[in-house]
Amino acid sequence: MNAGAVTEIRNSRSKIHPKQFALLIACASIMMMFAAWTSAYIVRQAAGNWLEFRMPDLFFVSTAVILLSSLSLHSSYISFKRGNEQMYKLLLVTTFILGIAFLVLQYMGWQAMIEIGVPLKTNPSGDFVYMISGAHALHILGGIAVLIVAMLHAFILKFNPTPARKLRFELTLTYWHFVDLLWVYLLLFLTLQG
């Protein structure tokens, strides 16, 4: 732990940890990026020359998977706090696998779009879907990187729920829930608006 971190914990007198707080602000900022795209979508759609198509069902399957992964990560966190090492590790790995499955399903979703005749460059309506879901997938990829770090911690370090490790887990959890909910918002938007 470096000197800065020491200071920070000592100096902070509020309930929510500054790092957790900083992460929430960062999430708000990411949210703005997607809000911009969905707003642009509405503006562009209103201008006409807009191809209507149904979102492939695969995207709903992937949604179920990502929701499940949030659930498993949350349970893993609870097991971690209760000191249930086995369960904690198992659920962590489950989350990781579900996260990868989500990405695969998104990829298959794009393939399905091509099959129904909406490859890239057909019409902005399809291009928006590719761009928005693609950018979201990148954020999931970031989440997966974080999960890998969490797994390394789980399997290399001795099991020991110190406050520092609990905090680290909480940060991972917050981010993962965020990208999950972000996708739910995006899917709802693209289905209802599209």
Binding site: T7, A22, A47, P124
Partner: protein, 618 residues
Amino acid sequence: MNDVVTTTTYDEDVLIQELGYDDHFHDHHHGDKYQSNFIMHYIFSMDHKIIARQFLITGMFWAVIGGLMSLVFRLQLGFPEESMAWLKPVLGKWIVLNDAGIGTLAPEFYYALVTMHGTIIVFFVLTAGLSGTFSNLLIPLQIGARDMASPFLNMLSYWFFFLAGVVMFASLFLSTGPFSGGWTAYPPLSALPQASTGSGAGMTLWVTSLVFFVVSVLLGGVNYITTVLNMRTKGMTMWRMPLTIWAFFITAIIGLLSFPVLVSGLLMVMMDRGLGTSFFLSEIFIGGQALEHVGGSPILYQHLFWFLGHPEVYIIILPAMGIVSEVLSVHARKPIFGYKAMVYSILAIAFLSFIVWAHHMFMSGVNPFISNFFVIFTLIIAVPSAVKVFNWITTLYGGNIRFNSANLFAIGFVSMFISGGLTGIFLGNSAIDIQLHDTYFVVAHFHIVMGIAAFFGMYAGVYHWFPKMFGRFMNETLGKIHFWVTMIGAYAIFWPMHYIGMAGVPRRYYSFDSFQAFSHFSELNQFITIAAIIVFAAQVLMVINFFYSIWRGKVVTEKNPWGASTLEWTTPINAGHGNWEGNIPAVQRWPYDYGKDGKEFIPQIVPLAEGEKDGGDH
């Protein structure tokens, strides 16, 4: 330096020791770990004071580059007939020589210069150089924190800014030249690599650079907000924060909400360029050939850009406003007038800045009825702006004013903000904007209200906090010369542009040869160019003064040379990592007790006397 009053009667160390709180800072052998060698201390430093200096000096570097660019295109505008052959050694192939040896500036490069000048000054100098420098320096010092919430992210923030600079700098040396489609990067010039010379590799590097820059702003902003909300010392309630902190705090929030939207727009541009989508491109012919792009909307880009673009101008000006409020109050030896009104007007400006963006698009073909909505909100911004101006003037009124460099620049800021704000009201009316849009009137407006004013705010801050940053003073005589030349010179440059603009002369034109109507402005244009050269020379003087004073300036011998009440002046003269050696000071009162109860000033760490009411509450 006879105007430095010293009536300090407080023993600050004792107050901090007795009333401050012990955070066991010393138990942890702080600092040594990453201050032990040169590289860790000065290069990859995580100390907010060093990072502030890194931002400042990098910003100064870019200011010189951006300023020099403007001189080159001003020469073209003022003296289009003169040979530029003498610039050939520097600009190389961008100066084209004819048989007689007469050199002319390549038109493509003129556009590249204008674009780079705008991008560099807006983002690198007035965003990173201003808010990066002073947020870093002052947030921990003025709220009583040992450092930022995350010193590591803070360091990353600087290095992403640096990286953005490296990429932009590299783009200057491309054989096709840097991006040349204007700092706003409208499509199609930005979205079609073949649209102009700068649209190819130049644009790709421009976008790359800006994305790094946004990462820097976001990392910084997350830190500023978290630090202000979580790490204030005991007694430092929100309503006891200096206005500087309020300004940096709100600025960071605006940045976090608006910069991601720019990234969204830029990503769409990149998809149009690289993947052939048509978000922004529609029915375009190049060289007689119809392109495949159909159905895109260039106006959509403008919406996304200005959703950042307008808040961005406030990201630039709010920190300057905060600095000016602080400097004016300290050097007028009076409390800031209407402290709460100042805070509320910052909040109002921040809110309104998100719902006026389309005033940049009145002439782009947006629905005139929608324009009305934006006209109203644009004009409403004048209200909180006027509140601030009123309060600055009343703060000065009847004060025991010290006319030192810092305060002169703060007063100059107020003058510039008034002049430039008034022309904004003209532009904000969509009907008048039909004549004025994209003319030199707009150029005059934003250079005065944003460019010069923000520079003045930055200078006020540099002269005022230089003693805190480097333990020495800047030379006052040079500072005053710097001020007067810049003040008069800036008006000489930009005031005439209002007339040129009202006559309809468009901005971003390389030459006015073929416009009979504009030929009578050629002498005025020469005058402007000469004024610009003189003003630039004064800035060089400032840079010299800055570096000279770092090593040779008059040494600061007391902790609180200006007699200011805020916390940064309770730290040791050359404060090390962690800022305070022993306890962290506790705050007992608001930051603007000047001339109260017959005392010259009362530092924030002095407890309220029996029955004394805290300031700011009225």
